[in-house]
Symmetry: C2
Subunit: 315 residues, 2 copies
């Protein structure tokens, strides 16, 4: 070992390759990988995300987060023979973008010997995202493509998970995603959406496959390092529609805060989790689910958000 190398603070044997500022740990490759996996296990057990006999649908876009999630879950799953994994990819229909990420999603599922199914916006809703946005522009509807995509992808994932008989739906949101969404909803004053931002979905309905977020306590930079060290293939091109102005500002702000006060993102998440029972209580008094009069999916409104958006571009 060179004399400038620092030893891992955990095993005290191998050279450290990562300094985890918020905890003060300096970790070697092996201890870092283990610690990320243990973090995910901890999140799963802390929030009781899975049961032994769950059939878990994993949303896999092919990006680093979902690739890491599928890899880690397939590793954990080996210890639970009664559970099953199935990878789901939603093909929104974005030309020149989704094709390559689909190939990567297929490859990682195959490598891990996990069943893989693709569902497309075109099949589910009759339109690709490209054609939806084209129609939206023609009709001069001032909505961002991300608005359509977010609402429809959410619905598509639920329909897909139900279609494959999954009992849970795991998505790859990491700590940064969660902390950003918390602040965004706070700055937008969207208390209802805040109340619905949970580690495991608590609104029970026979048509809802409960969602869980096993990576929610792993910072984004650790997810990146994890897939890099595991030499996992992933798709990194940004979506051609991506222009998340607000999210970008919030991301920059949170990164700056994290830099100055390591641990800030965890605090944002944990403050939210402390408030969550009270938010949910506030919400419970208001929300009652009914079935959308167009598609029959559960929604707090007469017509679900997805059908509402689709109507706007059709009429």
């Amino acid at each position: 070992m060179g004399k400038f190398q620092t030893l891992c603070t955990k095993c005290k044997k191998s050279p450290a390759i990562f300094f985890r500022k918020y905890s003060g740990e300096k970790l070697c490759k092996k201890c870092f990988l283990e610690s990320v996996e243990n973090r995910v296990k901890g999140t799963i057990s802390r929030f009781k995300m899975f049961r032994e006999e769950d059939r878990i649908a994993v949303g896999v876009s092919g990006g680093k987060d979902s690739v890491a999630l599928l890899y880690i879950l397939s590793k954990i799953e080996r210890e639970f023979p009664k559970s099953e994994l199935i990878a789901i990819t939603i093909d929104e229909g974005i030309k020149g973008y989704r094709e390559e990420s689909l190939r990567i999603a297929r490859k990682i599922a195959k490598d891990l010997d996990v069943e893989h199914v693709v569902f497309s916006f075109k099949d589910l809703f009759g339109y690709t995202l490209d054609s939806i946005f084209e129609r939206s522009l023609k009709k001069e509807i001032r909505l961002a493509p991300c608005t359509y995509c977010g609402v429809l992808r959410r619905k598509a994932l639920n329909l897909a998970a139900r279609e494959v008989n999954a009992s849970k739906l795991a998505t790859a949101h990491n700590l940064d995603d969660e902390a950003q969404t918390i602040l965004i909803n706070f700055l937008r004053g969207d208390v209802e959406r805040l109340a619905r931002l949970e580690p495991i979905q608590s609104i029970v309905h026979p048509k809802f496959v409960p969602r869980v977020k096993p990576l929610m306590e792993v910072p984004e930079n650790e997810v990146s390092l994890y897939v890099y060290l595991r030499e996992l293939d992933f798709f990194s091109a940004p979506c051609p529609y991506a222009r998340y102005a607000l999210r970008g500002d919030i991301r920059d702000f949170l990164n700056k805060m994290e830099e100055k006060r390591p641990g800030t993102k965890f605090i944002v998440l944990n403050t939210h989790l402390k408030l969550l029972p009270f938010l949910k209580q506030a919400l419970r008094e208001k929300v009652s689910l009914q079935e959308c009069i167009i598609c029959g999916e559960p929604t707090p409104h007469k017509i679900c958000k997805a059908c509402e958006l689709l109507q706007r571009i059709q009429n």
Copy 2:
């Protein structure tokens, strides 16, 4: 009128001098001043801040916010002959800083024909802030002067308000102060402090003079324009100790957000106000006030925060 001048959107008579982005209004001097005063009246009545026979202590540092507050309250008070105002200045004992602001506080009170009383840290606690911070440095206590000042000023204002037999204590926090404090406490995970951030203090104790914040719905830039247009004298030098790193970052962030999405600061305040009943419920289960075993003031702890800090620099 020159041809490039825009008319006030309210009176449609005089030229507009201020564009209120978040509402779209363009206001002339007269309508702007009236609208700020009406906003304060609205806040006071919305949160039932005052009763007709209140004796209101107003914390006046001499800065623009407290000068505006005293001016506006004295204007409103004329309509309520049973109410009384009394200006209170806390002299923390910061050499080369407080002397001039004291002079200004005295002048505005005199101009408005409001009784004015000064209370000093030295008299109340036995030390000036300068000497407290000097001792703190010598003892290598790693606390910012603002920590001592915040805790002691809070206590001093309550003692002073009680001393002058006030039934309410008004402080000059504006919308920016409130929105910043909300985010700061969120980023620090301080749910208890969030729960205590109220338009009118709800913890009732015979030794607490209830605090109110009549300017909490007036943005900082409107307070500045108000004192400028009213040609009020105020003290503008920054405190020599001021190095609010975190608050500065949050201020910059909120100003950027407000610039991009006018109204953001109001949304932060209103989101907080929506959550407040639930936060208070969470707190109520935990907090029980007792009297500090040193000074006898109400506190959730055995020793109040002020006495605790003073002990640290004494022993």
